[in-house]
């Protein structure tokens, strides 16, 4: 083995690429970028000096202005001044005093935290009293007459509302535009059964340029992009009720015994759901622990910054249609799910799975490859 590997250096490089891969053009690109960055840095170094000068000049101007104004005030007792009257006529005092409505916008992080809070704390079967004890009294009862979900009562909350006047502006029509503009951070709807227990929930919120709807019910859960409308394809991810039960059990203790006899596609779906719920401990626990296939430790995984975890939309787009994919075995304990994430994609996507020594399917590290 040693001898063979030593002899195959050139073969390996040729296998990667027989031609030169680092071009003069790439080199020039890097040089230009470095030159540009250096120039920018110099500008930044220069900037504080400019700021100091501007501040000094502004201070002087302010002093001069105050002195002149003081002198001017003293002149007010003097008789008619045409110049001043003209100035007053030109001004529109009403316009000037019109208060500008500036709405504070909530960040995606605040919105995402609220969504996570609602997802973890409001669960199926909880009583109405328990819900109100957690979320407060600022809700509105919504017409439930055309409900097809079996609920006998619906209530709605607006959270992270920029304008207090919008606090109770909630109907059975989702305020997509206000959510998109972050004027309302989260709209949360709850349907209760005739036993006054939570039967379903819907959370509507914005992420990036999209408005998403997360719904949970007795038949499972789903997440869907509801804005902007896409005529070409629906982006949606759902867990079946069976998968939801397994998922909830798995989240409790992250014990793989719950995954016994679960098919690889459902395991992949649990991985996606955990990713959507930002339950990174569960995401890691679903990765293979087969010897030789572990690529980084749990501790290293915990250090991965949120920015590298991907947004909900990225997750939805990447794993779109994974549930309708087909599992293709590959070797004794491997295989991959082949699925069509997008009709426009050049090729089908592949999601790699590994069967661990205990016979349970797990997700391969870096599954999409």
């Amino acid at each position: 083995m040693d001898k063979m590997l030593k002899e195959m250096k050139d073969d390996f490089e040729n296998y990667l690429n027989e031609d030169k891969v680092f071009t003069e053009q790439e080199k020039r690109k890097i040089m230009n970028q470095v030159r540009y960055s250096s120039a920018e840095n110099k500008k930044q170094m220069y900037f504080p000096k400019v700021i100091s000068s501007i501040t000094l000049v502004s201070l002087c101007a302010l002093i001069v202005f105050l002195v002149l104004n003081f002198t001017d005030a003293g002149e007010k007792s003097q008789p008619a001044d045409l110049h001043k009257e003209k100035t007053v006529v030109k001004k529109d005092p009403v316009k000037k005093e019109d208060p500008v409505k500036t709405l504070p916008k909530y960040s995606d992080k605040e919105i995402s935290d609220k969504v996570n809070f609602l997802q973890s704390n409001i669960v199926m079967g909880m009583t109405e009293k328990e819900v109100i004890a957690i979320l407060g009294n600022e809700y509105k009862e919504i017409d439930n007459s055309d409900s097809e979900s079996g609920s006998v009562k619906q209530i709605g909350y607006n959270f992270l509302v920029s304008d207090p006047a919008d606090q109770l502006k909630i109907s059975h029509e989702i305020a997509v535009e206000s959510i998109h503009n972050r004027e309302i951070g989260v709209q949360f709807y709850i349907g209760f059964s005739d036993q006054s227990e939570v039967l379903w929930t819907t959370i509507n919120f914005a992420e990036g340029d999209s408005v998403l709807m997360v719904s949970k019910g007795m038949n499972g859960r789903g997440i869907e992009k509801i804005y902007p409308d896409s005529n070409s394809e629906v982006i949606r991810f759902t867990l079946t009720s069976e998968e939801e039960i397994i998922y909830q059990k798995f989240l409790q203790d992250l014990d793989e015994k719950h995954l016994k006899d679960v098919n690889p596609i459902s395991i992949a779906k649990l991985y996606v759901q955990a990713q959507l719920d930002k339950r990174y401990d569960a995401v890691y626990a679903l990765l293979t622990d087969r010897e030789g296939y572990v690529q980084w430790t749990k501790e290293e995984d915990e250090k991965i910054p949120e920015t590298d975890r991907g947004t909900i939309m990225q997750t939805l787009i990447t794993f779109n249609n994974i549930d309708t994919g087909s599992f293709i075995p590959d070797g004794d304990y491997g295989g991959y799910i082949e699925y069509e994430a997008s009709k426009d994609a050049d090729a089908k996507s592949g999601f790699k799975m590994i069967k661990d020594e205990d016979g349970i399917w797990n997700v391969a590290f870096m599954p999409i490859q």
Binding site: K6, M8, D11, F22, E26, Q33, D308, A347, G350, I368
Partner: protein
């Protein structure tokens, strides 16, 4: 001019010229190294760019305890690992390897695929990164075990045992492929 295993005493040129020299000397092999992590040439190009910009920004940090080769490889390996753990790599991009897998091969291609060394190269790229990198650095980039330890920020014994396991892992894969390899 910077040379692979010689210790650089001083760098009389401007930083831009030093960067240019670094790219002349290592551009090709660093981009190829990046490819062995990402298995995608576009990503390898992006990372190579990041590596040399980072090297440029840290030229003053270069200490003579290591060779310039180990130093640039260390930067490269860290960048590659950061990248393969990031969202862009782990979740969003299909690599050339998968495209190959999903295509059905013609009999001629099958024949080429079965060429022994090509097959081994393919299997090396399928090894987990921690095994893949020690094989590549030791056998194809001609690093000593000590240099690998520096480049990977690891200790010598770990590198030795990883190399042993990497070869064992490769042998197992070769057996699994049903090949009759000369050991």
């Amino acid at each position: 001019m910077v040379k692979g295993n010689t210790v650089v005493k001083e760098y009389p040129k401007s930083e831009i010229d030093q960067l240019s020299d670094l790219m002349d000397e290592y551009g090709e092999e660093i981009k190829r190294l990046a490819y062995t992590y990402t298995k995608n040439w576009q990503q390898a190009e992006d990372i190579t760019q990041e590596i040399f910009i980072s090297a440029f920004n840290h030229l003053n940090d270069f200490r003579e305890q290591s060779t310039i080769k180990t130093w640039i490889y260390r930067i490269a390996i860290n960048k590659c690992k950061d990248y393969v753990r990031s969202w862009h790599y782990t979740k969003t991009l299909l690599t050339n390897t998968f495209y190959q897998k999903s295509n059905s091969l013609s009999p001629e291609e099958e024949y080429l695929e079965s060429e022994q060394k090509e097959q081994i190269s393919k299997l090396i790229l399928q090894l987990p990164i921690k095994y893949r990198e020690v094989i590549i650095l030791y056998y194809f980039k001609e690093f000593s075990l000590e240099e690998i330890a520096v480049a990977l920020d690891s200790n010598l014994n770990t590198v030795k045992s990883r190399l042993r396991r990497a070869k064992k892992n490769l042998e197992t894969k070769m057996d699994g492929e049903g090949g009759d390899y000369i050991g």
